[in-house]
Symmetry: C2
Subunit: 415 residues, 2 copies
Amino acid sequence: MTRRIDSRRDERSNPADQRAVRRHNLSLVLRHIAERGPRSRSTVATETGLNKATVSSLVAELIERGLLSAAGTEYPGAVGRPAQSVRLRSDGALGLGLEVNVDYLSVCAKDLAGRVRHRRAIAFDNRASTPERSFVRLLRLARDALRDVAAQGLVPVGTIVAVPGLVDYASGRLLYAPNLGWTEVPVAELVEDRLGLAGVPVRVENEANLGALAELWEGAGRAYRDFIHVSGEVGVGAGIVLGGRLFRGARGLGGEFGHITIYPEGPICGCGGRGHLEAMAGQDALMRAAGVETSVAGERDASADLAKRAREGDRSVQVALRDAGRLLGIGLSSLANLFDPQAIILGGRFATLAPMMLEEIRAEMGERVIAARWSDCRMLVSELGGEAAVRGAASMAMERVLDDPTTVHVAGRAS
Amino acid sequence: MTRRIDSRRDERSNPADQRAVRRHNLSLVLRHIAERGPRSRSTVATETGLNKATVSSLVAELIERGLLSAAGTEYPGAVGRPAQSVRLRSDGALGLGLEVNVDYLSVCAKDLAGRVRHRRAIAFDNRASTPERSFVRLLRLARDALRDVAAQGLVPVGTIVAVPGLVDYASGRLLYAPNLGWTEVPVAELVEDRLGLAGVPVRVENEANLGALAELWEGAGRAYRDFIHVSGEVGVGAGIVLGGRLFRGARGLGGEFGHITIYPEGPICGCGGRGHLEAMAGQDALMRAAGVETSVAGERDASADLAKRAREGDRSVQVALRDAGRLLGIGLSSLANLFDPQAIILGGRFATLAPMMLEEIRAEMGERVIAARWSDCRMLVSELGGEAAVRGAASMAMERVLDDPTTVHVAGRAS
């Protein structure tokens, strides 16, 4: 029964802690204005409980860092004097999201208010490519995006790269992407070196995790604190949100829902395992089962096409979708038995296909989830679909600024 | 992107917070002495950073509550005066753990230092029983235990009841125990009413969760912060420890590892699902596969008997165990893919059978865990075996006292 003893000390006088308090308050004020809209310093002071002099000093620093700007005058009603409002700078900081997935490349840029300022996706068969070639093409998209947003007056302050595989977070490497056959790709380094944005941090994150965060921040997950976002592409991934926070597994390499075993003697998976969910219900498996040719260069609309054919009465497509729904339902039952989430969100291409799969999913879960009677799990369909990951990437870049505005350097000073 | 705004206030002057600080410090001192052994007030003050007057007052209260007692004299070396030591009272507070499992009943009582002061388990076929009859028998064990520990001068201060099923924590009800066919059993109420310990709180917890906590506190999990304890009885359960804390699923009904699907068309499970792990690799399934008669009234040694027969060369038992290892390995691979734990501990009857199953488990995990190459998961065998849950129950009752010593009332005063 050994436990660490936490000794209590008053840490207020420590300069490092004073800086932490300042950072916290900068974040508090910036988020407050991001969420509530333009308002005066004294309104911010009243609403946050900070004193007015502190708010003025914080706002001055946020203006200097290019995050806030003046926004006309606020009239507080009969009593009190009109005061100058501040608002988020619409020509200020920008978060850049990039995504390499199995059969497409994608970019999304968002401002501090969470508005998309640039967005593009292209079909690209990364399986037939090398990391080198894929990143050359991705960075071309990124540079186009940067030119576009520069013309809108925006300055990138953070970049997140979404990848379909295991990530080493400390080094920003993609360790393993089974559907691409890539291992040990130094993604952060590649992007940092070639994009040439000095002082703009580049981080790498699993695409399913980013999809879940996008759902939490702006999608079907907004109303929940505990949910699982399942993204169906060629691979199948899960982003698990517990208590409003992303759960990446105890050591960062968990959440690999696509690699849970559904049929132990099933088909070989891209990772070498057998009968894994993504080998049986991922897009390739689904196309094969439907008797549709798996075309090579990135069919961005393969799922829309499948859905259309099913609606038009194509029997083999209908059967394949129902079967995929059954397999997915088996996997989701195991997930629900382990995590007991409030909701499961079907995302990625599953969002398009959900109407044809939901009945089977519900039937399996009704039969296989032991707590179903006491703990109803809502089944939701993503509003963001295949855009979730790259939107989440752009948002995560901005979230880092909202969490710590000091990561944005004062204009004109190099980092 | 909506987030709650936390306004900062200085809460020190609030009397409720002063009480919280006092409780925290009482816990700090009590844990310090529990972990480091007898020592003087001034040593405690030096080691914890609390001031000496505060420590004296805290120690006085802990003595009054019957948790500490005087313990001879401490000689601080050449300089300084000898001082009176205090230590945990060995005739003080007691945690009572009770367990109802599928084929046995069990009791364990521990003192504050974590020593077992009473322990008993009996074979009892709860499947052939009603909750009423089972609890009558369990409470007879509990009363025997209380008589025994009373003779040792110990006073119960908390009771935890381990059950093999879904628990409603707020009400202390067992919602559903599939292997017993019991639903909605008001366990806390039953034990509270009939054990007649006024003011001693009764709480209910899933047995697999308590097994995991026992491993964390005194077993193979001591060296880890992120591990999964798999307990194999008639049912199969998992206790999931993340960051040194128990994870019960987002809403309290997760961790149901025994009910993940291994073969979708497999045998019907006690819960009504198909091909669930416990229906295929739990004790009953194992006995059937080995061609051993599943005897009725609680074979406490069924697993020891199986292990013996396998060692003696019984082919059908060997094959059954290897097959169970394979099934368990398939399930554990899915678990590792989702949670990425540092270690998996095989507990309950799996602890006895592990030597005959480990090879198959390792083979399956090597093939099916996608991050195996980057994130090695240790396979450990429980040292506590089938005793883990009831030991964990007794410990949890004491942990609650160590966390908040004010839950123990001053001797002589009713609650």
